[in-house]
C-alpha cells in the first residue's frame, strides 16, 4: 500500500492521540477523567473483540467472561497471594490466554451461529465458576480491596500510580500498545488470512491455509488482550463482582464495536465514546434512558451499517472524491 505520511487519516490520528494525552489536563472534574478512563477500558475490550470478530469474522460472546477472568485472576493473585501488579499482570494475561485456548479449540470447530452460542455457553460457565469458587473469588459477595500497581523505583525518578491521572496514563499506555498489536495483526499475513477466512473458509483450506490454527492463535491473542483489559479494570476499580464477567459485558462491547465500525481501528474507541456519552447525557431522563439509548442504536445501525467510521469514510469520499482517488 502507498505510504500515507500526511494523509488526513494520519493527521486525524495524531490529533486524536494528542487529545487523549491532554485529557487529564483539560478535565476540570474528577468525573470527566473517570469517564475517559472507563472509555479507554471499554476500548480495550472492543479492540480484542475486533481482532477475532472484526478481522476474522468469528463472533465470540465469551469476551465478557474473558475480560472478567483476567480481572479475577489478577484480583486473586494480588489479594490472596500478595503478588505485585507487574508480576500479576503478565500472569493474568497468560491465564486468560490458556482459558482462551481451552474455549477456542472446541468452539472454533463450529461455524456461524453455533460458534456464537457455544462461546456464550462458555461465558456462562466462567461466571458459574467465579460464583462458586467462593474461597478464592468471594462468590456473589465479590472481591474487594484489589490494589493497583505499586511504585516503580528508578535511579532518577520513581513512577507511582496513586493518582487517577497516573492510572489514566497507565491505561492509555497499554491501550496504545494493544492498538499497535491490533494494527500489526491487520497489516500482516495472518491479517490477510483472517480476512480471507471471514469471507470463505472452505476456499482458504483449499489453498492450504490451516484455518483452525489461524483462528485458534487469533482467539488466544484476543483472549489475552481482553484479559489484560480486565486486569487494568480490576486494578482501577478495586472491586470485582461476578457481574464483571457477565456475557452482558461482551454484548455491550459488541454493540460499541458495531457502532464504531467493525474491523476499524478508530472505531474501537469511537463506539465506546459515543455510546457511553449518550448513556451519560441521558442520566437526566432516567425513566426513558434505556429507550432512547436503544432507539439511538437502531437509528445508527440503519443509517450507518458500517458504523461511525464507515459513515465518515462514506461522507469523506462523497465530499472529496477526487482527492480520495489520488491516495
Amino acid at each position: 500500500m502507498a505510504r500515507a505520511s500526511l494523509s488526513p487519516r494520519f493527521l486525524f490520528g495524531i490529533a486524536g492521540l494528542v487529545f487523549l494525552i491532554i485529557i487529564p489536563a483539560i478535565s476540570t472534574t474528577g468525573f470527566f477523567l473517570h469517564m475517559a478512563t472507563v472509555i479507554l477500558l471499554w476500548t480495550m475490550l472492543c479492540l480484542s473483540l475486533n481482532i477475532i470478530f472484526g478481522y476474522g469474522g468469528q463472533l465470540s460472546l465469551a469476551h465478557g467472561g474473558l475480560f472478567g477472568a483476567g480481572a479475577y485472576v489478577y484480583g486473586v493473585l494480588v489479594t490472596k497471594l500478595s503478588i505485585d501488579f507487574w508480576l500479576a499482570f503478565p500472569m493474568a494475561g497468560a491465564a486468560t490466554g490458556i482459558i482462551g485456548l481451552l474455549i477456542g479449540i472446541p468452539s472454533l470447530r463450529l461455524k456461524g451461529p453455533y460458534f456464537v452460542i457455544v462461546t456464550l455457553g462458555f461465558n456462562i460457565i466462567l461466571v458459574a465458576i467465579i460464583r462458586n469458587l467462593t474461597s478464592l473469588t468471594g462468590g456473589v459477595n465479590g472481591l474487594v480491596g484489589i490494589p493497583g500497581p505499586g511504585m516503580i523505583p528508578g535511579p532518577f525518578f520513581a513512577l507511582d500510580f496513586n493518582s487517577k491521572t497516573s492510572q489514566y496514563y497507565l491505561i492509555l499506555f497499554f491501550l496504545l500498545v494493544f492498538w499497535l498489536v491490533m494494527y500489526f495483526i491487520k497489516d500482516s499475513r495472518i491479517g490477510k488470512c483472517l480476512a480471507a477466512i471471514k469471507e470463505d473458509e472452505d476456499l482458504c483450506q483449499s489453498v492450504g491455509i490451516n484455518t483452525m490454527w489461524v483462528k485458534v492463535q487469533t482467539f488466544v491473542l484476543s483472549s489475552i488482550l481482553a484479559g489484560l483489559g480486565g486486569v487494568l479494570y480490576a486494578s482501577y476499580i478495586g472491586v470485582l463482582t461476578p457481574n464483571d464477567a457477565s456475557f452482558h459485558i461482551g454484548f455491550d462491547a459488541l454493540v460499541y464495536l458495531t457502532v464504531g465500525g467493525i474491523g476499524s481501528v478508530v472505531g474501537t474507541i469511537l463506539g465506546p465514546v459515543i455510546m457511553i456519552l449518550i448513556s451519560e447525557f441521558l442520566q437526566a431522563v432516567v425513566e426513558i434512558r434505556l429507550f432512547i439509548n436503544g432507539l439511538a442504536l437502531v437509528i445508527l445501525i440503519i443509517f450507518m451499517p458500517k458504523g461511525i467510521t464507515g459513515g465518515i469514510a462514506y461522507l469523506w469520499k462523497k465530499l472529496f472524491q477526487t482527492r480520495g482517488k489520488a491516495t
Binding site: R189, A195, D202, L203, V207, I209, Q217
Partner: protein, 274 residues
C-alpha cells in the same frame, strides 16, 4: 494420439507417457446415510495428462473432488497421491502436498482485490503466525517483494494484470472463473482439479479459458476436469472416465467414450443406446 495403450489387470485402459502415476484411487466408497454417492470407484491419473470426468447430474463427480481434497473423508478405500497414502488427510495438508482445486460455484474472495486473492494462495507456503506478525515484522516485510513477484506472475498467467487492483466482486463472470483458476495455480500444484470451469459463460469466453487450461497443462501440471460441455471435454482431454451413480461405467479416449454404449445410455437414455 501418440499414446500407447496397455491392458492392466482389471482391463482398465492406461495411458503411458513414460511417466508414473500421480494419483491412484482404489475401491473408493462414500456413503451419505443409506445413499452411496461413490461406489467402489477405482481409477488412475497419470502425471502430465488431462483427465476428463463426465457423468449426468448426481453421478458423484463433485463428491469425488471433495473426497480427493479431503473436504469429505471416504467411508472406505484408498487415495494415493504422489506415491503416498493420503486418505483422510485434512484439506489444507493435501493442498500443501500439491492438490489444488476450483469449485463448481466459482469461489473467490469477492471483497478483496485480485492481487490479494492471489496473495492468499501464496501465503500458506510462508510463515503466517500471530507471533511472526508481531515479533518479526521487518523480516516479513522484506519477504513481501518476492511474494508479490510470484503473485504478479500468476496474474499475468491468467491475463488479469490490467485488473490486478480491482475488487474481485467487480469482475465479469469469465474473469471470476479465471481468477478462481489463478488462486488454485498460485499454490503451485502438481494436480489441478477443475470443477466445471466453463459453467455459465459464452462460447467466445470458453475458448479463452480453454487456452488457459492448455497453458497450465503445457507447464506440466496434471489436470482433472469435470465438465458438461462434451465438445470441450472431447477437445481438451486425452482420456475420459464416465461416472454414473458413483461408479465408473466407461473409460477411454474421447473416441472410445463417444461410442461407448453405457455412456450413451447414461446420458441420453435407454432408447438411444442401440
Amino acid at each position: 494420439m501418440e499414446e500407447t495403450f496397455s491392458n492392466s489387470g482389471k482391463g482398465d485402459l492406461m495411458v503411458s507417457r513414460g511417466k508414473g502415476m500421480l494419483l491412484t484411487v482404489r475401491n473408493l466408497i462414500k456413503e451419505f446415510g443409506g445413499l452411496q454417492a461413490i461406489n467402489n470407484l477405482s481409477f488412475e491419473v497419470n502425471e502430465g495428462e488431462i483427465l476428463g470426468i463426465i457423468g449426468p447430474n448426481g453421478a458423484g463427480k463433485s463428491t469425488l473432488f471433495n473426497l480427493l481434497t479431503g473436504v469429505l473423508s471416504p467411508t472406505d478405500g484408498e487415495i494415493i497421491f504422489d506415491e503416498k497414502l493420503v486418505t483422510g488427510l485434512p484439506t489444507h495438508v493435501l493442498a500443501q502436498r500439491g492438490i489444488a482445486r476450483t469449485f463448481q460455484t466459482t469461489k473467490i474472495f469477492m471483497d478483496q482485490t485480485v492481487l490479494n486473492n492471489i496473495v492468499i494462495g501464496v501465503v500458506p507456503k510462508t510463515k503466517y503466525s500471530v507471533w511472526n506478525a508481531i515479533m518479526s515484522r521487518r523480516k516479513m516485510k522484506r519477504e513481501e517483494d518476492g511474494l508479490l513477484k510470484r503473485c504478479e506472475g500468476v496474474i499475468r498467467f491468467i491475463d488479469l494484470e490490467k485488473k490486478a487492483n480491482n475488487f474481485a466482486g467487480e469482475l465479469g463472470q469469465e474473469e471470476k472463473k479465471r481468477l478462481a483458476i489463478g488462486i488454485a495455480m498460485s499454490t503451485e500444484p502438481k494436480l489441478l482439479l477443475l470443477d466445471e470451469p466453463t459453467g455459465g459463460i459464452n462460447i467466445e469466453e470458453i475458448n479463452h479459458l480453454m487456452g488457459i487450461i492448455r497453458k497450465i497443462w503445457s507447464k506440466g501440471i496434471t489436470i482433472c476436469l469435470i465438465e458438461h460441455k462434451m465438445k470441450m471435454v472431447m477437445e481438451l482431454c486425452e482420456r475420459i472416465i464416465v461416472l454414473n451413480y458413483g461408479t465408473k461405467i466407461a473409460e477411454g479416449t474421447p473416441q472410445e467414450v463417444r461410442h461407448n454404449e453405457a455412456a450413451i445410455k447414461a446420458y441420453l437414455g435407454e432408447e438411444y443406446a442401440a
